[in-house]
């Protein structure tokens, strides 16, 4: 049988400090980029019109147009502040205009369409998509997105507390929060447009990362029940190593699917695909390096009482070894 990473004995926990520095640095780069954008007068986050309110039009031209030409035409229609961007192919562009009221929004797309159809004949340009979102809806969607993320947090925490135990739940949730921050940093770096779909992708990443963490924690739970003479740290390492082939296989298949999405599923869904691809990566990273290290920290900080024999015994084993190590150190001196 074909096997990869079979029966490995890597010491993952050993690297936790390096990994912590790496991941914090990554998040800081994201924060720095956001700060730099704000300082230079730009927007830190590229929100879609679902959140900001306004009008969005996706245009398809018969011939590749000049972007300055489109800009001039749109400005002529009275929307000098509109953002114009190429969208995938050279004949497709999006126009984003901030708009206040519904009546104005309705005529915004109409006015821009009329101006463009005058500039490029009626068949030369086609509006394939147009969206208007009023300011109240935008604020509401923004609020709902935050509520959705928080609630999914609480719900999973409760579920984990029921199925596992609060220490596991806390470690898993903190690891998941880490995934959200690294993903947000990635969104900053790529300057991806944050739409509802991207929020959905972030929530899916949360689910996926938890999924991964749970599978490793399930192993930890199982290994703790077996009365081996192992320290808690060794139990963690063993659990990660034992689930490593599964982690690699699942990520291979999921990443393959995500890359197919990224390359073939088109421009509309691309920000979603990027977030998913990065999320799968960071989800795996955090389950291996963040969640387990955190669990170890929490177990040491708040040790269990006698009834959970496995953990208590593993901790005792650890303390015994630490003492031994200290004695050895004395001897060595």
């Amino acid at each position: 049988m074909l096997r990869i990473l079979h029966d490995t004995r890597y010491d993952f926990i050993k690297w936790w400090k390096h990994m912590a520095i790496l991941t914090i640095a990554w998040i800081l780069v994201g924060v720095a980029i956001a700060a730099q954008r704000t300082m230079t007068g730009g927007k830190a986050v590229n929100y879609s019109i679902e959140f900001t309110g306004g009008t969005l039009m996706q245009l398809k031209f018969a011939q590749p147009p000049q972007i300055d030409d489109i800009r001039a035409t749109v400005a002529q229609a009275g929307y000098g502040h509109a953002e114009i961007q190429q969208f995938g192919s050279p004949t497709e562009y999006t126009v984003r205009a901030p708009g206040a009221t519904a009546a104005a929004g309705d005529s915004t797309s109409k006015q821009i369409e009329r101006a463009l159809k005058t500039r490029y004949s009626p068949t030369g340009v086609q509006v394939v998509r147009s969206e208007f979102v009023g300011p109240r809806v935008g604020a509401e969607l923004r609020r709902n997105a935050v509520i959705a993320i928080l609630i999914s947090f609480v719900v999973t925490l409760i579920y984990l507390a029921i199925r596992f135990e609060w220490r596991f739940g806390l470690a898993a949730v903190v690891a998941t929060a880490h995934d959200i921050f690294t993903t947000l940093a990635f969104i900053m770096m790529m300057h991806l447009e944050v739409s509802l779909t991207v929020v959905a992708a972030i929530l899916t990443v949360i689910g996926y990362s938890l999924n991964d963490t749970i599978i490793i924690f399930d192993r930890v739970r199982e290994n703790l029940k077996k009365q081996r003479k192992e320290s808690l740290r060794d139990v963690m390492n063993r659990s990660i190593n034992e689930t490593l082939p599964r982690s690699v296989m699942t990520h291979a298949t999921t990443l393959a699917a995500t890359i197919a999405l990224l390359i073939f599923a088109g421009e509309v869904i691309r920000p979603f695909s990027w977030v998913m691809a990065f999320g799968i990566f960071t989800g795996t990273f955090s389950s291996i390096y963040v969640a387990t290290a955190l669990l170890l920290y929490i177990e040491r900080k708040w040790p269990r009482s006698g009834e959970q024999k496995g953990t208590a015994r593993a901790l005792a084993e650890e303390r015994r070894r630490d003492r031994g190590a200290a004695q050895n150190a004395v001897v060595a001196r």
């Binding site: 990869i4 208007f132 949360i206 689910g207 999924n211 749970i214 699917a257």
Partner: protein, 560 residues
């Protein structure tokens, strides 16, 4: 043995159920023919709904418009408005529209396949409040014009001359502010050619020639009493004047100034009509029982309406008192067409002339009149329209991505797990079938993020199998027999599979609760996908193993 039989029966039942849900069936849809009339057509299709982003169409969110008047109980008003909107959409001619209340103060309307945004909005949003009002015969406006001019001057409403001229690009634009303007104003007074054009109505009077106030300069006497003309370029300015509280206070008492819908071309310039009418309607549209579009050789397209007996009696009474007067037909504060003269008392039947509009417009008006007026004015909170070409493109690309994702996953699984991988891939086929059937069965719509969720869950779907296979390998490593290794592998992998999938389903459920439209589609697809993957990965693959064990009794090795 019997266990195996039951399992096979279970799979057969599930498959039959899935095929039943996905089996193409007939449906009746209303299609608007080339003549603009609705016809019922029978279509055969797979009962899997596409979201608006895939099939093209329009999503409109409406909320109560409180800019004119506060509404006390919005939720209740929305409930009543919902009925009206639903009635209107029924006659609109799209298949499977969605009309629902969202939250407590919003109506969501989804019109699959509809591309004409203005038409959809006019049907959904028009309040359709119909009133019949007598036009003013007392020259009430002329008498207050000096006062209006004074108000406009005092409140400094008239724009600076430069900007107005630039904006309107009309030579002889309003003689503006405080009589200081000295531009070529003679062109503005109704010249002879215009008067000739107006003379055909025989009631035309001389224009109002007053001292050149900011307001009075912009309006001219129209073809009948109570009718005035405003040049197209000045419409916005006049509208601004009319909306000013100071001006409104100075308007004649018990009268209203309303815009007409028609424009007239006189001497190459476009004019819009303004009417002064009695504030009190002689009757409103509440007595209307029916409205039908029609064409008449004289008036062009018209909408004929009928009133019930009570309304008819009242209408006859009131019109009897006003014989010889003009009656303005006011729809949502706009005068429809030109007010006709009342020849004699009118009973239950009447008609509205549509001016230059086509039959489709008459049809839509008849539709909204039949469905009744909206209890409150509505305004658009959100509108998305997606062209059919973009939707088609998204489907094609989504399909391509799905196929490639499946091929990649199949390759990885078969190369790495051999026969067991083949079993997992076979189960994947069931998984795809079950997911689609679940979507069809629960009426969930497939959206673009939904397809993405589907592609993604193909990757995740094999995860359960990967977990199980890795466990079986571990058990084999410990020297267990093939049969026990398989049993133990399934048993030990179970807690992890259940926990991880339940947590993902919980996240998806939260998404469903707080998401809208496409995101909801994503959540539904994800939930359907995870459920189906559990069934296929655990139940079906297990059955395949049992089948395989039975055929090769006493197998010593397992291809995994």
């Amino acid at each position: 043995m019997s266990n195996l039989r039951w399992r096979l029966i279970g799979i057969a039942v599930l498959t039959a159920l899935a095929v039943f849900f996905l089996f193409p069936r007939n449906r009746t849809i209303k299609v608007r023919g080339s003549d603009g009339l609705l016809r019922e057509t029978v279509q055969r299709h797979v009962p899997l709904k596409y979201g608006l982003d895939l099939q093209g169409g329009m999503h409109i969110a409406l909320e109560v418009d409180e800019s004119k008047q506060a509404v006390a109980d919005k939720s209740e008003a929305i409930d009543r408005a919902l009925k009206t909107v639903r009635n209107r959409i029924e006659g609109f001619g799209v298949s499977e529209p969605v009309i629902q209340k969202a939250g407590s103060d919003r109506i969501i309307v989804e019109l699959p396949g509809e591309a004409d945004r203005d038409r959809a909005l006019s049907v959904v949003q028009n309040q359709a409040f119909l009133e019949f009002k007598i036009t003013d015969m007392t020259q009430a406006l002329e008498r207050v014009l000096p006062r209006l001019d004074a108000v406009v001057r005092d409140r400094k409403l008239a724009p600076a001359s430069g900007t107005t001229t630039a904006a309107t690009q009309t030579p002889g634009a309003p003689k503006g502010l405080q009589g200081l303007l000295t531009s070529a104003d003679s062109g503005k007074k109704p010249d002879t050619s215009k008067k000739v054009a107006l003379e055909k109505d025989s009631t035309s009077k001389d224009s109002i020639v007053t001292g050149g106030g900011a307001f009075s300069n912009l309006i001219q006497q129209g073809g009948m009493q109570g009718e005035y003309f405003v040049e197209a370029a000045n419409i916005n300015t006049v509208d601004k004047f009319l909306n000013d509280p100071g001006v409104q206070a100075a308007l004649p008492p018990a009268k209203e100034v309303l815009w007409g819908t028609d424009s007239t071309v006189i001497a190459g310039k476009v004019y819009k009509a303004l009417y002064v009418v009695d504030s009190r309607p002689i009757i409103t549209g509440e007595y209307l029982t029916d409205a039908r579009p029609n064409t008449s050789p004289l008036e062009g397209t018209i909408v004929q309406f009928k009133m019930n007996n009570v309304g008819g009696r009242r209408f006859r009474n009131e019109t009897g008192k006003h014989v010889g007067h003009y009656m303005a037909i006011v729809l949502d504060k706009r005068v429809m067409g030109r007010p006709p003269v009342i020849q004699s008392a009118i009973g239950t039947d009447g008609q509205i002339t549509m001016g230059g509009k086509d039959l489709a417009a008459a049809q839509d008006l008849a539709l909204v009149l039949r469905a009744g007026a909206l209890p409150v004015p509505l305004r658009v909170a959100e509108i998305r329209s997606i062209g059919p070409s973009l939707g088609k493109d998204s489907i094609d690309k989504g399909m391509q991505a799905s196929i490639i994702a499946v091929v990649l996953v199949v390759l990885v699984m078969v190369v790495y797990y051999r026969l067991s991988g083949v079993l997992a891939v076979l189960a994947l086929a069931f998984y795809v079938l079950f997911t689609l059937a679940t979507l069809a069965g629960f009426g969930g719509a497939l959206t673009l993020p939904g397809i993405a969720g589907f592609v993604l869950s193909i990757g995740i779907a094999v995860d359960a199998n990967v977990l199980i296979f890795e466990r079986i390998r571990e058990e084999l490593d410990r020297g267990k027999t093939v049969r026990t290794a398989i049993d133990e592998g399934f048993k030990h992998a179970m807690p992890a599979i259940i926990d991880s999938n339940v947590s993902t389903i919980l996240t998806a459920a939260v998404l469903y609760q707080y998401g809208t439209g496409a995101v909801r589609g994503f959540a539904v697809t994800l939930i359907a996908g995870i459920t189906a993957s559990l069934v296929s990965a655990i139940f079906i693959v297990r059955t395949f193993y049992l089948l395989w064990l039975q055929r090769t009794r006493g197998a010593q090795t397992l291809s995994i």
